[in-house]
Every structure is written in C-alpha cells, then in structure tokens.
C-alpha cells in the first residue's frame, strides 16, 4: 500500500515545499469525496485488483510480474485476478487444462517476441551500462524473416517447439551460446575481431604497458599482463562470456519466467472465503464473464456474486487491452468497481473507422 505519510506530505509538493519522503507522490491532490470518507469502513476492506488483458503483450512484458510482486508485498490485503479477453482458438475446448494450454501458448508467444527484441541488444553490466560487444547478427537473421514462431496459431505446434524454432532461427552461434560451447564460440569470435587484434598487437609491441593500461578496464583484463596472447585470450573470453549471457538471459525468460507466470496464473486464490482460480475470461461479444470451477467446469460469473464481491472488497480494475474493449469493460465493471484505470489511452484511443 502506498505510504500515507508520503501522500500527506506530498500534498504540498506542487507548491515546492520540501517533502519528508522521496517516494513518488501518488495521492496528494484530493479529489471528490475522498476527504469525507475518512473512517469509512470500506477503507479497511481487502482489495481485489482485476487485471484485464492479462495475456496481452503489455501485461506479459511488464504488468504481471509487478502484479505478483504487488500481491506478495500487500501481505494478504490485495488479491489479483487476471481476466483474459482473447477469443479462444477453439471455444468448444473448455476444460481447465485446455485453458492452461492456451495460457502457456500465449505466454510463450509473448516471451519469444520479447526475446527477439532483446537478443541483439548490447549486453549491460550490473549497473545497467552498455558494455562493449560485437554484432552477432541475430537481429539481421530475424529481420530476414520477421515472422516469429507463433504457438497461438490454429494448428500450430506447442510452445516447446516454437521456442526451439526460435532458437534455430537465431542460428548456430546462439545455440552454441545456449549450450555454453565456448570453444566453438571462440572460433567464431576471433575472425570477427581479427583487424582489431592486429592493431592491438602492433600497439602492444610498441608500448606494452600503455596498451595494457588502456585496455584493462575496457576488457576487464588483469594489469600484470605480459604477452599479447594474454590480451587476445582476455578479449575473446570477454566477448564469449557476453554472448553466453545473452543466450542465458533468453533461456531464463523463455523457461523460468514462462513457468513462473504460468504457475501464478493457474493458482487458486481465496476471495471472500471461497477458492477461485486466478484466471478468468471475459467474452466481449456476449459480455459474459467466466470463471473455471473445479466441480462445474466453465461457469458464467453470476451478477449476484459480483455484487457480493463489491460489498466485501474494494474492486480496482486495470485494463490493458486494445481500445475497442474499453466500452465493454466499462459497461461490465462500472457497477462493481471503485476505480477503473485504462492503460495506453494516448495512442490507443485513436480508432480507425
């Protein structure tokens, strides 16, 4: 929850009066009935945060991980449910394991997309600074065929196969990096930097100490180097380590992150003393909200249940969907929610007609 001390002190921030706490001031300008509601019993109610568009790019990219963190930090005061609005590939297949299969496919697709964006970026050190590197050509390989393996296509193979295809598309260097095949990578690196190495060798033969001083911090070399061979090994090792890290980061995203998201979305949560799956679905066409019940399978969430939830929880809705969905979401949740927050409104609200 937000630090209330910060909120109060930050109320004066706009007038340039120093604040005691440097967190982002979030609630300093009071609007509407908020002041009058002090002492309102609803203030003590648990929060139900409803994230809509949960398997969209933005949610998988940024929001869900932070939602997990938010829920954990709230120490039970907030529960997160995720509502998906993508039409099902096959609406007839409605067993929960089929829902889970689709969750996995969408997550895998999103993570492949993100990995493709990241895979040829210059590696960064722990403080986020860009490190020196060489072009491995991953971006060019992807640009040659911009379509990525997509496990959400009808009839597409599963997520594992899509991830495998993605790695194959990045080429042998990437696979070698994934497998930490350092000897193979060394053979690839050396020709790529042969010109640089030749220049450095000449520079070293002219003035060894000055060359080492110049290169030591750049390539993380020891300062007591005595031969050019050591410099060469150090530079090659540095570059090989980089590409191995790039591949490991992609692996981590495609496997660890995928598993964590999948597991979190499959969990059941306790809402008003009842166990319910965290993952819900909203059919925009029929405007019906569905839950999955272990006993009854897919069930429409009755209006009475939502009313009860609204009486027992402060329902906050966050929607990260294309703008076409906003009217449907507003219509569905305005009877029950305290707040509805719309993501990406700026460009997203422009609609072609």
């Amino acid at each position: 929850m937000v630090n209330s001390k910060c909120s109060r002190s930050a109320a004066r921030l706009y007038f340039d009066i120093p604040c005691e706490n440097d967190r982002l001031p979030t609630t300093e300008i009071r609007v509407g009935p908020s002041e009058e509601m002090r002492g309102n019993p609803r203030a003590q109610m648990p929060v139900l945060l409803v994230i809509i568009g949960g398997l969209g790019d933005w949610c998988v990219r940024r929001v869900l991980k932070h939602a997990m963190e938010f829920e954990k930090e709230s120490e039970g005061k907030a529960t997160v449910v995720v509502v998906d609005i993508h039409p099902r590939v096959d609406p007839e297949q409605d067993a929960f394991n089929q829902w889970v299969d689709e969750i996995d496919r969408w997550i895998a697709r999103r993570l492949i997309e993100q990995s493709a964006e990241d895979v040829d970026l210059p590696p960064r050190d722990a403080s986020g600074r860009t490190m020196k590197g060489i072009a491995w050509g991953f971006t060019e390989r992807l640009a040659d065929d911009p379509g990525l393996p997509d496990p959400t296509k009808i009839g597409a193979p599963g997520p594992e196969r899509a991830i495998g295809e993605f790695k194959e598309r990045l080429g042998d260097d990437f696979i070698a990096a994934s497998n930490e095949d350092r000897s193979k990578l060394q053979k690839v690196v050396e020709p790529k930097i042969s010109g640089y190495l030749a220049d450095t060798e000449k520079q070293f033969s002219d003035d060894p100490q000055a060359t080492v001083d110049e290169l030591a911090s750049r390539w993380k070399l020891a300062r007591n180097i005595e031969s050019f061979a050591e410099i060469k090994d150090g530079v090659v090792k540095f570059l090989v380590d980089q590409v191995v890290k790039v591949a490991h980061d992609a692996q981590k995203r495609l496997y660890n992150e995928r598993e964590a998201l999948k597991e979190w979305l499959q969990q059941t949560v306790s809402i008003s003393g009842r166990e319910a799956h965290r993952y819900w679905r909203f059919d925009l066409a029929s405007t019906i909200l569905y839950q999955y019940s272990s006993n009854d399978g897919k069930v429409a969430v009755p209006e009475g249940m939502l009313r009860q939830l609204a009486r027992e929880h402060r329902i906050i809705v966050y929607a990260a969907t294309p703008p076409e969905a906003y009217p449907g979401i507003l219509n569905q949740w305005s009877a029950y929610a305290e707040r509805i927050a719309l993501e990406k409104p700026v460009a997203g609200l422009l609609e072609p007609v």
Binding site: E28, G32, V47, W58, R62, K65, A347, L350, P352
Partner: protein, 346 residues
Amino acid sequence: MSYKLTGPTGAAGIRTTQRVREAVEKACNNPKRVPGLPPLQVVTVDHYNTKWAVPLIEWVRRRRIADHIISRPRRVCIQVLEAGMLPRGRFLFYNGVGGAVADMVAHLMQPLRALAGYATVKEMLAAMRVVQIKRARYNLKEGKDGFVSEAFGAGTIEQDELASKLTKDTETFGVMELEFIGSPWNGTHVYIRTGKGILPQSKTIIVEGFDDDGPAALIFDIDNKCAWLANHKELSTSGSLDRLPAHRWMRTQEFHIPGLTATRPLQPRPSEYVEAFSALCDWESPDPRFFPPVDEAAYVCDFFYQQLLRDRTAYPQGLQESDNNVYPSNYSGGQVLSWLTDKAGW
C-alpha cells in the same frame, strides 16, 4: 469527430475517443451500481510517471537545486531512442496518424510537465504550440510470411495488408519542435527526437540555461538513472553534451550532484507497476497528475493527433513516396533520425 485523410492512409478515416468518452459517461451513471460504493473513478495510467526521472525532477524542483536553469531554460532537448523493434506484438496500439511517435511524445510530456511545474499536461499544452514536425515510418520489407495479427478485433490480417499497415500507418521515427507561448517558460523551445529500433538506446532530457559563468545544463539520463549539472567549462571543453566525460555522471540515487549540498539518499523505488498499483489500490484518490482522467488523456491525444494530421495533410504524398522525403532504404533507425534532424534544420 471524424477526419478524412489523404496520402498514405488513402480513404481511411480516424475516429477519436468519442466512443470511449461516451462509455465513461455511461459508466459513471450506471443505474445498476451496487449501493454504498463511492462514485466511480475512471483514470488513465501513464507508466512514464512511475519512471525514475519524473520524481527526480519533482525532487530537484522542490529543493530549488537548479532554479537558475529551471526557472527559465534557454531550451529543452528530449531524446528517447528505444532499441525495441515495433512490429512484434505491439503494433496494433500504434494505429492511425502518429503511430508510435504520437504515443512516445505524449509520454514525454510527463517529465516536461514536471520540469515546467504544471499541474496537468493539458494545462501545459494550452501554453504550447507545435513549431514543426518531421517523421518517418518503417521501411519494412513487404511480402514476408509469418505476420499474424493479434487474435482480437478485426481478425487475422493478410500478410501483405499487415506489411502495408506497418509501413504506411506506423510512424516510428519523429522529431518535433515545440514552443512555450505562455508563462513561466514563454519563448522556450522544446526539441524532441524519438524513434524505435535504434541502437544504442538512449533516453536523455537536457535542460539548457545559464549560470553566473555562462552556459549550464541540467541533464537527466532516464535509463541509467543519472542526472548532473554541467557548467560552461564542461560544455566548452567537450564541445558536445553527448561527449561529456563519463565520470561526470553521478548516481542520483545518492543525489551527489556536483556543486550541490543535498546528498540525502533516495529510498529505493519499487517497480513501476507495483508503484502504480499501490496508488490505484490506495484508499485515497489517485493523483490526477500521475493518473490523468480520460478526458485529459484524450485532450493530449487530440493535441498531437491534430498536429500530425495537419502535417500529414500538408504533405499528402507521405514520406517514403515523396521525392523530398525519401530516406535511403539501407538507413538504420539512428540514421533515419539524423536525417530527420537535418531536415528540421536543428
């Protein structure tokens, strides 16, 4: 409100936010609302407000650390070059006129609002005018297989159609010059360069002004969470702000800005959406500066949309088709942006 476009989008029209505005109004008057609930609040989320730079700017302002620059800057330069490529998963957000540029520029108004000290972006834009815009789209190879639309809305888009949409409707690189025409920064120009698919990634805000010794600048590096004050010596010896020596970059988490006495450390900041969700779920109403109401977001959207629309109408041949606006197909994103900057005469 509807517009008839010429040029790249052919006969396609663009509808603004009217449908969403009507839906918000209807939602706020929903007769089925559960009794006892407080009035419904509908807000928008701009994740740029939870980035480190915005609270830092607020911090610097309220401590009057660089008042000599901030009170009346000579000019403000904002550069946000993102490495991420556009067409993978996100492009449907960037529909219509302006595309990614309109989205990015609207985000960048948040730190600018904090710098200028306005309560809302809407108020700030009322005191600004657009001097010029230069923009370009992806020069994407067409006819590649494998693109699939989001499984939402219009259904699957044919490959050629999608490639065509991306090349024609998604403006990915842009330079924009704005001018304040109202107090407190009347006459100050703001230069914005933004684009996606550019390496190296760079997100910088430079507020240029003067101190007693001559030119000075307050510089924020959004990605690396650094800020520093540069004085005339650094500006004159380096010749360019981009080439200032790296050791001048101070970690402002420690707030050790050269020449300043305020060094109290910042508290570690939570992740962007943890912060946003905390504020949204808090009992007290979210600050409209950071969570603007839909109407305000729509105003910002319309402001840039109409400017971009006018610009596009003025150049109906579009960018890639016109002789005057063709950029070489082998240009990288960074080269396209430099090309645009040259065209703007900066």
